[in-house]
Symmetry: C2
Subunit: 206 residues, 2 copies
DNA sequence: GACTACATACCGACCAGTTGGTATGTAATT
DNA sequence: AATTACATACCAACTGGTCGGTATGTAGTC
């Protein structure tokens, strides 16, 4: 389909994932990205019309990457929907290995810098987070239905988003403390919350 | 005590709070900061040795600002420690008014960009978050002690940090969605969690 | 209270290096 | 020959930061 298969684009996107997660989007220069990827500036602007366009493409690339990662994860194999949700949380905790830039979230980092100045990047980050969160909704809803939780005062979607809130916040505090332990603690709190939600008798919404 | 009271420094710090929260630290230039504050570049570098030094000063300024805000907040007046913790969460939810840059956290935004490249800023951000979280520990601990919760499997400090995790994460998702509602939902989940933690019979740690 | 000595607060022109982006060329594939 | 995928050279604007200078104060001395 192409004269030469595009290697530069892939290399630039791969570099973008690591460099932007380490330094942030604004502080990452096009030159630095090119150097890290081992390509020239001409190649960069051949594949991306602007730095902002690369940001959008990087967020999309991140969505594909994480989509494949979680689709192949083992937590889907469990029979009970609540077990799957809890195993998802365990899986997220297991992912916290290596150095900070290796396990933090690209789109969570980018959206903080760009939500006002680059709406297209913000939208791509939003789609990435939202898309991932929505994969949890069917299991949460099934667990609620199995227990006849109708008027719980919260929705499956809001709990799915809350898991992402905890994870994003955990990354922020992990960066501030330069330590993963606070993130692990918070994920444990999250798992305890979900367990309590489904073990407690249903309370009437206020 | 001084020849002329330094107006430029104060104006620069005030500007820094709003501009950095809107655009991020890296994307905020010294020139822009000066223009926003109505001072010259000479004044900037008279008061701050570098842009990074301003970042540190802004984080410290933020700590003072928020310290005064929460010290004067009404949730301290309640008699029961658990009520104080829950009222703190309510207070945080009430603060989510106005536009996004008005209620988001300066140090949470800054630390994401600087945790690897500017350790001094990271440390100042860390101190700000940590210092605030620690103000919650005595009330949480008192609530635990009142219920004889010894081996709960979590500590007062970890729960205090978890509240900050939820808040920071809520800001991230609010920016991504350009909507405050997801933040409110997550704070409600947090309050529900704390309520459940203290209403549930103590479980043995695994 | 006038003079000296000095400190602080601020100004704005200027600098070298970097920024995102462009214009033009070339080599391989179809 | 046309298209794609790069490479090289280059640019105007902007970056953080410097520097000489000025205006305005305070403190001590006489």
């Amino acid at each position: 389909m192409q004269a030469r298969p595009s290697q530069a684009r892939e290399k630039l996107l791969t570099s973008a994932l690591s460099v932007i997660r380490a330094k942030g989007f604004s502080a990452t220069s096009v030159d630095e990205l090119c150097a890290n990827a081992g390509v020239t500036k001409g190649a960069f602007f051949h594949h991306f019309t602007s730095k902002e366009a690369l940001g959008v493409a990087a967020a999309d690339y991140w969505s594909e990457f994480t989509g494949a990662l979680f689709a192949a994860a083992p937590y889907h194999d469990l029979a009970d929907p609540l077990d799957r949700v809890l195993a998802y949380i365990d899986f997220r905790r297991q992912l916290l290995a290596g150095e900070l830039p290796d396990y933090t979230c690209l789109v969570g980092t980018m959206v903080q810098e760009t939500y006002l100045t680059a709406p297209q990047i913000r939208d791509a980050c939003h789609a990435s987070i939202e898309g991932h969160a929505l994969t949890l909704v069917p299991d949460i809803q099934a667990a609620m239905d199995a227990r006849g939780m109708r008027d719980a005062g919260w929705t499956a979607e809001s709990l799915a988003l809350h898991t992402q809130v905890v994870l994003q916040g955990a990354f922020v505090l992990a960066k501030a403390r330069d330590s993963v332990s606070v993130a692990i603690d918070s994920i444990n709190h999250l798992k305890r919350y979900v367990t309590l939600l489904f073990s407690h008798p249903v309370e009437k919404a206020a």
